[in-house]
Symmetry: C2
Subunit: 497 residues, 2 copies
């Protein structure tokens, strides 16, 4: 592509990615390594990066370059990387320039304080401590919504930030279908007798967990020459460059599954990052497409693969090697132990079958806040009412209710629905992959996961942001995502006999 404006945009895009990856390291290091007194200075460094990248990208000449390219018929020809890059740059440029830089700065400063306040409020289970910060954050998000504009509902402007193109209407409809058929599955799954031969008082040494997890991550395709696994309070995956993917997990000595499924989940994210095209790294076509697709990759390896009987057929002997107290378990018992359902308060500890109900509560709450003006003071009661309605549970304290998640304290309204989209995408893509390529399932029986990984590499990872998220999934699977495959998957896992 010879157009000089296009070349400048590519160079800028790559420079901004480079800076964003440096900011990623600052953040990773803060979670994994940094001693506590380093926090204030680290926050200053992070703020420098947000300010600098916002300033560089919203420079009016960037808009000129984009317009120049849009006038160049060779570039806007659909089907090229350049056209896709341009589409994404235009979208980001329009979104970012709509936000006054004072709003961006105030938002960042408010989040920093809100985050501190939330952690304290959760600790004391005192919503009133967090309420003024939440009020301010919601106010700023409403300003943001007004700046960005929306076609239908105000909340749409927030959803679009995390899942390009998603709307309140569409998610409401998807969730309605899902909920209708999910409730009976939850009822039946939760009625089963609890079965847990793993958490039996045995001690699972951390060294053995580390070794076992690494063996599995390597077997499913994670490249340890281009990444690593560390310990952190909150498990996450962050890409620091085309050849540097960092995963974290946490360890419980009473139950090896906590770290293992954490690693499988984050490895799924990591495989996506390691599968992006290196040659176009830093351009939209070399970047992951959305949170809902990213989450499909983590859920795929954690749940569809990692909790299956085929998986434990392969890995139970290794588990018993590392943890001899498991030697007496059968594959069926281990599989069943990894697929237990229970209604509970806390989303991050929820099993696969109840998980989406937790997301629905949050989606309904956020939708009420932004579309219908639910007042901050009414949030705890409204949360508890919905939890009663959805789960039949009486929330005992706000720490187990509306204060449990970190997202709101970071101003992340609109983020939660991507978790459920991830679940639906995972099942939808997994079903399509197996139908399209019969060697995938055959491979599992020999511990060979390359068939599935290669399918994802080709259909999901390599395209990057070439397509919009929904188009990408539809093209890969041959049909638009819906709840069917996921419901079938849950039925097969959780309904016995």
């Amino acid at each position: 592509m010879e157009n000089p404006a296009y070349q400048k945009l590519v160079a800028l895009s790559e420079e901004l990615q480079l800076l964003s990856d440096v900011a990623g390291l600052l953040s990773w290091d803060q979670e994994v390594n940094m001693a506590k007194k380093g926090v204030a200075y680290r926050a200053k460094q992070m703020a420098w990066f947000s300010g600098e990248t916002h300033k560089k990208f919203t420079d009016p000449q960037v808009g000129d370059w984009i317009s120049e390219c849009e006038a160049d018929s060779a570039i806007i020809e659909p089907g090229s990387d350049a056209a896709a890059n341009l589409r994404e740059w235009r979208h980001s440029y329009d979104s970012e320039t709509k936000l006054p830089s004072e709003l961006v700065t105030e938002f960042a400063a408010t989040c920093a304080l809100a985050h501190e306040s939330w952690a304290e409020a959760r600790g004391k289970s005192d919503f009133s401590h967090f309420a003024p910060h939440l009020e301010k954050l919601i106010g700023l998000c409403k300003q943001r919504v007004e700046c960005c504009g929306y076609d239908d509902k105000p909340y749409d402007a927030l959803l679009d930030k995390y899942e390009r193109g998603s709307t309140t209407a569409e998610i409401t409809s998807v969730f309605a279908d899902l909920k209708r058929d999910l409730i009976p599955i939850v009822d039946e799954a939760c009625a089963q007798e609890p079965f847990d031969p793993v958490k039996n008082g045995a001690e699972y040494s951390i060294a053995s967990q580390v070794a076992f997890n690494r063996e599995i991550a390597e077997a499913i395709g994670f490249d340890f020459d281009a990444g690593r696994i560390d310990t952190a309070v909150h498990p996450f995956c962050t890409g620091l460059g085309p050849m540097d993917t960092r995963l974290t997990t946490r360890y419980m000595t009473s139950d090896f599954r906590s770290s293992l499924f954490g690693v499988l989940h984050e490895t799924g994210h990591g495989l996506y990052d390691q599968g992006l095209r290196e040659a176009v790294y830093g351009q939209p076509v070399g970047d992951s497409v959305s949170l809902g697709v990213h989450e499909s990759q983590s859920r795929l390896w954690e749940n569809q693969v990692g909790r299956s009987a085929e998986f434990w057929e392969q890995w139970l002997p290794r588990a018993a090697h590392y943890f001899p107290n498991l030697s007496s378990l059968s594959v069926e018992e281990m599989t069943r132990a990894c697929n237990q359902a229970e209604r509970s308060f806390i989303r991050v500890e929820a099993d696969e079958v109840t998980y989406d109900l937790h997301i629905m509560v949050r989606f309904e709450m956020e939708s009420a806040i932004f579309n219908d003006d639910l007042a901050v003071a009414d949030i705890p009661a409204e949360w508890n009412r919905r939890m009663k309605e959805m789960f039949g549970l009486d929330v005992d304290k706000d720490a187990n209710g509306c204060l449990q998640d970190i997202h709101w304290s970071m101003g992340g309204f609109g983020y939660f629905p991507t978790y459920s989209l991830g679940n639906l995408n995972a099942s939808h893509l997994f079903k399509a992959a197996k139908e399209q390529d019969s060697s995938i399932e055959a491979g599992f029986k020999n511990g060979d996961y390359s068939g599935l990984l290669n399918w994802m590499r080709e259909k999901i990872h390599q395209p990057g942001s070439f397509y919009l998220p929904k188009d990408l999934v539809e093209r890969a699977a041959g049909s638009p995502v819906n709840a069917e495959a996921h419901l079938a998957h849950l039925r097969s896992r959780y309904i016995f006999g």
Copy 2:
């Protein structure tokens, strides 16, 4: 200080420090964590930071601000932080603007290749492999010398970069005094019967070494809420911010002293960084003053303190707790085991008494290269000739000779002398501190190191770069540094009976 130009310089200085600390994290992470495939991208990120900081600092308006301040009598009034800051900014600005940015870029690119080539050449002990890169680096350094200018010898321009104000003539004179009196001490120390009851076949577990080292680092004053210790191939200390100091060490299971003295050394550097004034962090007066003073702090805690009988009086019981095979040793035996001398090829493994001779060889070599035009092809033979003369040793291969150190592959000509300056400063300051404050030595007997640390805090750490290095040491000690105190220290340690 109300002058707007001064305010702008302060803000710029703090911004550049912030960026330099981010680059420090990139580099620390590369040594401590990063998987191998991340190297190329990390190098790109590092290059971005050098380019950006050079560009920001050499902007002509920075020169205007400095000139404006120099015309403001309120600022240049000696004795203020502002005057000291201005002196340092002027010096750095003049140095950096003298270098054409092409030279800076070419130097960085040449170093990257030279470093690879050196590692390979050292591995194969093949100087000819490294020679063309060394030739090019020396050529670029000679260009640098011409750009910067010098009063007496060309090599002075390189020395000044690492130790502000030092010259070939002055170091030649200091080293001549030192060498004259050191040689007989080396002769006598190396004639002693070797005595090593520590490296006796026992296994020193890494976990115990980590715990023991941490206990000691904490006892001498390192704040683990504002720093940490990790493992790396090459031990180092890097300050990532006013409250974030990272040390590294390496572990040998056959000898706990390797990691311990590494930690004591790096903790000395770390205490200096943790002792800088936080309120002026990012300004020259909040920054360490020179490598020769930094090294004095590391050598102080490693050698003057850590290899003393008083130290082992306190710590031998703890050592025996962690490593029971040491229980039968007396304090005298342990102290003697920590002060063994031997003539050897490798600088980084050299004991305290022979160490400076290694530095002298390097100083003489570099001085010959830059002042007298020693040809690259003649370097190995010249190195070996000087090693024979200095140590009576026949170098068996270049890997044990002129290829052993990393410094030249990074273009670091002029760096080595600061190691010996560090040794001299350490002894000179330690002697003065004990003479000025008798409670310092009394404290050691109870394991209380705060007297010594507080003296260093006040006299060396808190001034930052307020004074020039030599002035700082002279003001602290009450007399200019010379070799006397160091020679007396070595005699008391290495000459028995």
